[in-house]
């Protein structure tokens, strides 16, 4: 275990198991107290989803990387405004979403077909078949829907945000968010039922 005093020397400390187990809130508090290097843990934890969201706004990897950097720097600058009651992740995603819309000039619209898909390593299982079916159907739903309904569905299913979090991020009422998501789920349910019927007839 390392003592807190050594935390200013970087690399070693942010990758230690003790540091990696720290909760987001604890990290935020310690960064605000001056342990700037611990911010890296938050970057490592949430870079992926911010990256993925970036591909909704930009095509070029370089643009997305600039975007990711801007989002995290913005989060750092506003860290004292993070209200500890909510998830750090959803607070970050709100910054990311707003920044994406401001930066890309797209008005509440996400380009969902942009990011590339790579085959799931555990292909062939029923689980993965179901999941890729869901992915395909929900992506189609996002693409078909007008904004901000599409963004709601996207953030709920592909970024695991709750109704309330989506409502805060997109800036529309929770009940509206719920009904958009419910509609998408109904669509998915139908699709699943149909494929099951197909599979049944094939047997």
């Amino acid at each position: 275990m390392q003592s807190q005093h050594e935390s200013n020397t970087h690399d070693t400390d942010t990758e230690s198991p003790a540091a990696l187990e720290l909760s987001d809130v604890v990290i935020v508090e310690r960064v605000l107290a001056g342990e700037v290097e611990l911010f890296r843990i938050l970057v490592d934890r949430y870079q992926r989803p911010v990256y993925r969201l970036g591909f909704r706004f930009f095509r070029a990897v370089e643009d997305v990387e600039d975007y990711v950097q801007d989002v995290f720097l913005k989060a750092y600058l506003r860290l004292s405004q993070f209200c500890r009651r909510g998830r750090f992740y959803s607070w970050l995603m709100r910054i990311a979403y707003t920044h994406g819309i401001d930066r890309s000039g797209r008005k509440k619209s996400l380009v969902t077909t942009e990011y590339l898909d790579s085959p799931d390593p555990r292909q062939g299982t029923e689980e993965t078949a179901l999941r890729s079916l869901a992915r395909e159907e929900l992506r189609a739903a996002v693409a078909d829907l007008p904004q901000p309904a599409g963004a709601c569905v996207d953030l709920f299913f592909f970024f695991e945000l709750t109704h309330k979090e989506v409502s805060r991020i997109v800036g529309i009422r929770v009940n509206t968010v719920k009904s958009h998501i419910c509609r998408a789920k109904r669509r998915l349910r139908e699709r699943l039922a149909n494929t099951q019927a197909e599979a049944y007839y094939e047997v």
Partner: protein
């Protein structure tokens, strides 16, 4: 509870939420709904995780690139932290400078003459300029010179006003800049 109601409740479930007791009760009694629920769950659970694990964003050097981005973020963060620290010590020494000679700390504390003083003197000057053409002395002068003095007068007084405000801005530049920055930040936050 009917199947339809149960499915409706399931479709309305939030991320990470479990069905309520009534719906659970229906699920344990109704194999059809139970099968549908489990299928839906299996389709949706780990949807994000499968995206995170698959390199859905880019090339094989994905991991390397992400590390580079993280490095870039951290050096920007460090620079910002240093900037803030520098500004804090800077404003600390400014405070010391201000408190040292008593005369520099008169009123307001932003400069050696308070904003209120600057502004009231400016307003008096402006009033004087407006009133001047109607004063007896000026009318007399005009009578003596037998010429229209309005244009040269406006020019002179305009120069006086400009000089005055330039002096004001020049002596308060640091503080004004700080105030503007704060204003800008407030706007960009909103």
């Amino acid at each position: 509870m009917k199947c339809e109601q149960a499915m409706e409740a399931i479709l309305r479930l939030d991320n990470g939420a479990e069905p309520d007791a009534t719906t659970q009760g229906h699920l344990s009694n109704c194999p059809r709904c139970r099968a549908e629920y489990s299928q839906l769950r299996r389709a949706l659970d780990g949807l994000t995780k499968s995206l995170e694990n698959a390199s859905d964003v880019s090339a094989p050097d994905d991991l390397h690139r992400r590390k580079q981005v993280a490095d870039r973020i951290m050096s920007a963060v460090r620079a910002e932290a240093e900037r803030v620290a520098a500004r804090q010590t800077d404003s600390g020494s400014q405070l010391r400078r201000q408190t040292a000679p008593a005369s520099q700390n008169l009123a307001g504390g932003t400069g050696w003459i308070a904003y209120s003083t600057w502004i009231s003197v400016g307003v008096l000057l402006l009033l004087g300029i407006i009133v001047l053409p109607y004063t007896e002395g000026f009318l007399f002068l005009r009578g003596v010179m037998e010429r229209d003095l309005d244009a040269p007068l406006a020019l002179t007084l305009g120069l006086v006003m400009s000089g005055y405000w330039a002096l004001f801005i020049g002596t308060h530049i640091a503080d004004l800049r700080r105030r503007l920055r704060r204003l800008h930040r407030a706007f960009s936050r909103a």
